[in-house]
Symmetry: C2
Subunit: 351 residues, 2 copies
DNA sequence: ATGAAAGCGCTAACAC
DNA sequence: GTGTTAGCGCTTTCAT
């Protein structure tokens, strides 16, 4: 009897299907089939194999299997930063669906840097992942690296921060309606001089949000005041400074619509610093429903993007297609997740 | 000439080192060596190979390499929930160091469920990961699955939520001093009836935090009031209910020390609901320095655990050992990361 | 400095 | 229902 395991010693070699085959006097092929649930194999054999596998402490070798089959049950996920709540939730959503389907996920961070993103994609191609799910870095200048992935038989699904010019499946939020709703809500609450805090315009969704804002402001018959649109990088300091610019103008806006919750938070903090009352003198709203928007006081009106659901949807696109549950169209799908306006104290001055 | 790439068509087969070898009239072995920077290969050959590899659009096949070498440049990370800020930061730290060393990370969530954790570890063993970095699920009853990993030549590094009885490298926070500091701080601020909101006691760190609290309360000469210690699960509702129990006693505590920020937040909310003034009538403090503790008003005193650093440290333990930078002791290392008390408004009633 | 050859562990086409 | 055989792409020992 071999006590090496119970003694906590490292075994010299892992058990393979050959060991199982030898022990049962059958061939490795049969063992492989049995372990994979092949229908042709008799239940008796399957049972024996399962028992012996357990007894010999067999572990499936994913590398060998992947090499042989040319694929792998792995999804590569590339996001700017996993510490951003939106992304960690999206990843959680992907992981959920992946795990249900027996897939694992490899995570890479781009840190919003193009070079790091390219390196990550390269690595994932080397890993032969079945699919790359990506939210583009702010610094991404082209999508050649993703085209390269596709050329190498790796499927690509973009989510949230996408590039339309690359024809892949995409999961994005509906923008126009929710922005229209938000602007209308501000109007209904009596705000008439609405400013906008715009994120990095090289990122698709931030550009679209700004455009939707401008469109809807015009729709309400307001003039589009250039000075009422400030840009900020996606950090807190920068948003505070941008908000300060807006709030120290001669004709101070009575509302700030920020393209992200961090932007809204910056404006919120700056308003308090300047002694401006929210929501009486100033409305503030953001985008993403980050946890803190709910618990600050006054709480901040925002938009729930359902990021976890976006991750799940991305996963489902992949697995529906793998399992042929989709109509046989070869065209890329774009799934639009409807976001939800969440009205809170920061924009409600009417009773 | 082959236009298949530029036409966006999927190539029938990936380029291998054989293709490069054939094109250059050398052997695959030489190509492999050249690509891996083998010192015996002439610079001329290396150059040629590099150029041809690029020209033929060669991608290294990690599976084949891993199968051959029996290892993989992959770290498996298992955490309860990646959406918890503490964990996503720790993962970010691990990813940083891993990526610098040419490793990728595979992420699994246990959802605090033992069975899911076991399945995740099993998968990671199958993937032949070099190392599993894990923070145990609340529901984890034994560490056999991790012993199993070790038996299969997979290194294990535990962080934060660890089990001491399993002899692996560990990265944890120093507890006693920071809890002592916190209790002393509360005392200095004049709080004399300090309650404690204790997390799930089957998790190491939550038990240790409670024990440290009790020890330090006694040290200050206070009696240990049983009714002043309430338990809660790690969610918001449960912490609110636990706080309610504490705050509706006849002899209401004048301070609540929560074992997590979520616990502190629950107490904070309940205090407001009951009209109890913070910090005048009640001090509140937590653990982890979650983002919201800083921006609520009054802001919440807490402990910075440096989770991202903990992730980096875990990574460094692995790579220092891989690169033989460690003294040749075979004993597991325990690295203790010193946390930092962050005093904020919620515990300061003195000027 | 490079070539020849074997084999990592698995799967799948083909045979019976 | 099971065996035979070949090979996925790479690395590495041994030879030259």
């Amino acid at each position: 009897m071999d006590y090496s395991f119970s003694l906590g010693m490292k075994p010299s070699k892992r058990t393979t299907i050959y060991d199982i085959a030898k022990a049962l006097n059958i061939t490795p092929a049969t063992v492989s089939r049995a372990l994979n649930g092949n229908k042709l194999i008799s239940d008796a054999t399957k049972q024996q194999v399962a028992i012996m596998a357990k007894k010999l402490n067999y572990k499936h070798n994913a590398h060998a299997s992947n090499l042989r089959t040319g694929g792998s049950k792995t999804i590569g996920v590339v996001v700017p930063q996993i510490t951003i709540n939106f992304f960690s939730k999206a990843i959680a959503g992907i992981e959920e669906v992946a795990s249900l389907n027996g897939y694992t996920i490899i995570i890479c961070q781009s840190d919003d840097d193009f070079e790091k993103e390219k390196a990550a994609v390269e690595t994932l191609i080397n890993q032969n992942v079945a699919c790359i799910m990506i939210s583009l870095a702010a610094g991404t200048k082209s999508t050649e690296h993703l085209q390269e992935a596709i050329n190498n038989n790796v499927r690509v699904i973009q989510f949230d921060r996408t590039d339309e010019s690359l024809p892949t499946d995409r999961v994005i939020n509906e923008i126009d309606n929710v922005v229209a709703e938000m602007v209308q809500h501000l109007f209904d609450q009596g705000y008439r001089n609405i400013a906008y805090l715009a994120g990095p315009q090289n990122i698709d969704i931030f550009r679209k949000r700004r455009e939707a804002f401008e469109r809807n402001i015009k729709k309400l018959g307001f003039p589009l005041v250039k000075k009422n649109i400030e840009h900020y990088d996606l950090d807190r300091d920068s948003s505070r400074m941008a908000a300060r610019k807006l709030l120290t103008q001669k004709k101070r806006p009575d509302a700030i619509f920020a393209s992200s919750d961090l932007g809204a938070l910056g404006a919120w903090e700056m308003a308090r610093e300047l002694g401006i009352q929210i929501p009486e003198e100033l409305a503030i709203c953001g985008f993403s429903n980050e946890f803190y928007t709910e618990i600050v006081s006054p709480s901040i009106t925002t938009v729930n993007q359902f990021s976890q659901k976006m991750g799940q949807v991305a996963g489902n696109i992949l697995f529906d297609s793998i399992n042929n549950k989709l109509p046989n169209s070869e065209k890329p799908v774009t799934v639009i997740v409807k976001p939800e306006l969440i009205v809170r104290e920061s924009t409600c001055r009417k009773v």
